[in-house]
Amino acid sequence: MSILDWARQVRLLHPNEWEVVLTPANLTTTVEALCANPRNHFTDMFGVEMGGERQLRLLFALDSEHGWLHLVVPVTGDSPHYTSLVEVCPATLWYEREVAEECGIIPSGHPGPLHLRLPDDWPEGVYPHGGGFSWQDKIPAVAPHPVELASAPDGIVDYPLGPVRSGVVESGHYLLRTAGEELVDMRLQLFYKHRGIEKRAEGCSLLHLPLIAERISGTSAFAHSLALCEAVERAAGIEAPPRARYLRTLFAELERLYNHHGYQADLCQATGLVVGQAQFDVLKERLLRLNARLAGHRYLFGLNVPGGLSRDLTDTERQVIDEELRFQRRTFTVLEELLFRSNSHIDRLERTGTLPPELALAWGAVGPVGRAAGVDRDLRRDHPYAAYAELDFAVPLETDGDALARARLRLEEVRQSFRLIDQILGSLPSSAVRVPPEACMVRPGVSALGWVESPRGEGVHWLSFGEQRQARRYRVRTGSFANWQTFPAAVPGHNILTDFPVIEQSFGLSFAGADR
């Protein structure tokens, strides 16, 4: 029986987007019932404050209905409580901490500390999304109150790594617990880079929102601005013109290509295969230069606007893409073969950093990390957006869950991207690429969801509007955030010196995307 028949007061917000209002008392049973169906997936959980009223919102992806279900739980009082959902749905662990810290809605019975994303010197009781202050307000610092860990038992050594780590990498902190060279456990301390993007977006106009979305994760800029623009378009009840939908798909796949090349380069660096790194960097750089030529920006910033794209593709540019793609395809085939013949590389990936499939599913692993561990989901296929419904592509799947599976999966995804781009170039509809900005009329109080399969996993954006077409609340769940939760599970039993860098690179996660 579908959940949509089971729940009584289901309201259709937009096509494929439903909403049910619940009380805190019947939240647990509802989530339990939803999780019982393996085709329903917990996606996001956040708090909203509007006009003095607070809401706890959960989002589930209903894959068999190709739709999304919002569970809305209005809460009242100074410190509203609900029963922690971690037992019925483990993936909510970090989300509940975030809601508690940033909205003041407390999960009773939550197993861990509630402090997660805000800096250690942030005063308690100041809720960024609990209303009452703007992003520019100065919040005084208090004595730092970091999350304290139990000290290591005898014979076990805590090895802190970060936030400033070796190489040109993003900032994040790992606390590695080791017995000799063997890793026995680890704790993650991310969120050093928390810039408050969602808070920053409050009060921003439609003109500026894409600029903010692009900077959630610079290397997935197009994916995130696409999700945002789709959310705006759904809220306004309009659709981008056909040509814009195809071009968005094209650019999204170009972005996936350069990211996946960069991923292989990083993985080669971790295993010491310097020639492989150089070769994949060449492919990546060529695509970035192509981007610069097509969009005026190497990372495709400034291309997505609500209602379409800011610029069209000329026939010459189409040929340029075609030629570059032919080069990419040819070179990529050679490089892939060389990779698999490089035992020094493959041996270090095999059975390294295994994420068990049952854990991946329970903890909500998404994107390439999930698909490499048997989670057969891809928003491009299961919840088609842009022009994916009209194009033919396969979703590769691996079941081993190790670093090799993740690397192989991305190699296959590159080939599928080549296929997609070929199809798009061959069947590009002719129409305008943008509806006039005046058509993007969003009424105050309207909200909508946008989603995208970014190179690092699914990104889900929820946007609610206030007066004058300004954002009132912006919520972003990136693929990296979902996948970081699963990362520590892949670490125990491996060597800190030789395996850890490989595991880290094989997940290919972004700190910026997770920290926001």
């Binding site: 610092a141 936030p163 900032s171 810039r195 900077r215 800029a221 990546k284």
Partner: protein, 175 residues
């Protein structure tokens, strides 16, 4: 310890190096420079470009510039990002661990002057509020070529192209 809220007022202890000192530093580092990069809240765009500096297309080693893993071996601190609250302390500690003389370069719109974030409840908005900055490389993100130019400028091996410009202004009918 410097806390986040104390950083609103410009730190008077931060001074620019004198021209003579700067020339001496440039002489020291002119042909061999080691960089420590610190991400203080970027979107990963700057990191992606900085990483490409060592790729075959840019091969920054040919210019005698190298990336080092530890600040203790570093001559130059390359900072990206809008200086988030949580990164203020690690950034200052990294700087303190560097031997003198040391150079600091602000990379990208966020580190130069806040970019889209500016001074907010969670970001400091600009690197110059906590460290003496030698060179600013604007851009969002700066391209690898812009980064090379910025690094060479810091070493006195390139010309600065931009200068403060005060434009004569003649609006219609008022000229």
């Amino acid at each position: 310890m410097v806390t986040f809220e104390l950083l609103d007022e410009p730190d008077s202890s931060i001074t620019e190096p004198s021209t003579a000192l700067r020339r001496q530093i440039q002489h020291l580092f002119g042909r061999s420079l080691h960089i420590r990069h610190v991400d203080a809240g970027s979107c990963n765009g700057c990191e992606s470009e900085i990483k490409l500096l060592t790729s075959p297309y840019y091969d920054i080693h040919r210019l005698g510039i190298f990336f080092t893993t530890t600040p203790r071996h570093a001559d130059l601190l390359l900072v990206t990002g809008a200086i988030t609250r949580a990164m203020v302390d690690p950034l200052q500690r990294t700087y303190a661990a560097m031997p003198e003389p040391r150079l600091v370069v602000a990379t990208g719109a966020c580190a130069c002057d806040g970019g889209i974030f500016g001074r907010s409840c969670l970001t400091l908005g600009r690197l110059s509020a906590i460290l003496p900055v030698d060179t600013y490389i604007p851009g969002c993100p700066p391209t690898p070529l812009a980064l090379i130019h910025g690094l060479l400028l810091t070493l006195g091996r390139a010309e600065q192209r931009l200068h403060r410009q005060i434009l004569a202004h003649h609006a219609d009918g008022k000229a």
